[in-house]
């Protein structure tokens, strides 16, 4: 019988973070615990506001840090499925979303109230998302997807950037001889 004891599980940073947050929340609750009921509601409202803000900020910060360190891979963010280069619809959707989000943030910071989304902005976002979806559909219909095993017909290169993965399906009455 081996006398070796199993190694103690290492505490992850997430556990430490949750512990610190719990201690801070408990201390805040004990410090702000009021006897007056109206005061209690006020404090509760403000405490929930702060807690939600901290929670959302930490979620966003963790995702941002993972993106910055490369743990979340961004290399294929604009890559076209099965294609050679970047996808225009992905690029367009990314830029539209970023710019509109920044614009709304500036509006909120300037007016200190929640903005109304105009029909034009919603239409623009809808167009971008629809274009992206339809573009994916067209690619799937043409058989130009990532895992397409269709072999490429041997042919002289027409351009330097020939796509070796995507070959068209045989069309009815099609002559395969390149002319």
């Amino acid at each position: 019988v081996s006398n070796e004891t199993p190694p103690a599980p290492s505490s992850s940073p997430n556990t430490a973070l949750v512990g610190i947050l719990a201690v801070v929340a408990g201390a805040g609750f004990l410090y702000y615990f009021p006897a007056n009921r109206n005061l209690a509601m006020d404090k509760l409202t403000i405490a929930i506001g702060y807690a939600l803000l901290i929670l959302i900020f930490l979620f966003g910060l963790i995702v941002l840090l993972k993106m910055a360190t490369g743990e979340i891979d961004l290399r294929l963010l604009l890559a076209e499925d099965g294609g050679n280069g970047a996808s225009m619809s992905r690029f367009q959707l990314l830029v539209f979303t970023l710019v509109i989000a920044m614009s709304f943030f500036l509006i909120v910071a300037h007016t200190q109230q929640f903005p109304t989304m105009s029909a034009e902005v919603l239409t623009l976002l809808g167009i971008s998302a629809t274009t992206y979806g339809v573009s994916k559909g067209i690619q799937a219909s043409s058989g130009q997807t990532k895992g397409d095993p269709t072999p490429t017909a041997a042919s002289p290169p027409v351009t330097p950037r020939e796509n070796p993965q995507a070959a068209p399906a045989a069309a009815p009455g099609q002559d395969n001889a390149a002319g």
Binding site: I46, F105, A153
Partner: protein, 141 residues
Amino acid sequence: MASRTLAIRRGDLERLAGKRLLMANLASLAATCGLVLLGGLTALLLWRLVSGGIPCGGLLEGDVRTASGTITEFSPSRTQMLVISTYTLIYGVAQMVAHPELGIHMPRALVAVQVGSHAVYLVGKAYSLLVGRIDWKGRSQ
């Protein structure tokens, strides 16, 4: 009695002032957090785009189906879409910066142009990938 009423009112006023102060602090903190997150995300994506961490090669090139396979070449439909989208975004941001109290407002004509641009892109892409340069009578380019 009067002094007690005054004391209660003074307490209410102090409570109200404290609440407003905390809410104002919460709003400013939220603005700071939003700026950090959105600014950080934008800066990170821009940096990756500029440095090549997110490859943008072939953004203006599209695949065209031919009888012998799929070739990649310059795509005018992608170019027009990029130009019109850039113009629309610049117009919207300029409007928003000039009149932030009005929000983002765009003329319907510009939205219609955007719709047409996307339609041209999608039709061009569908034609290139599904039909391409195949002569159905037996010849191809």
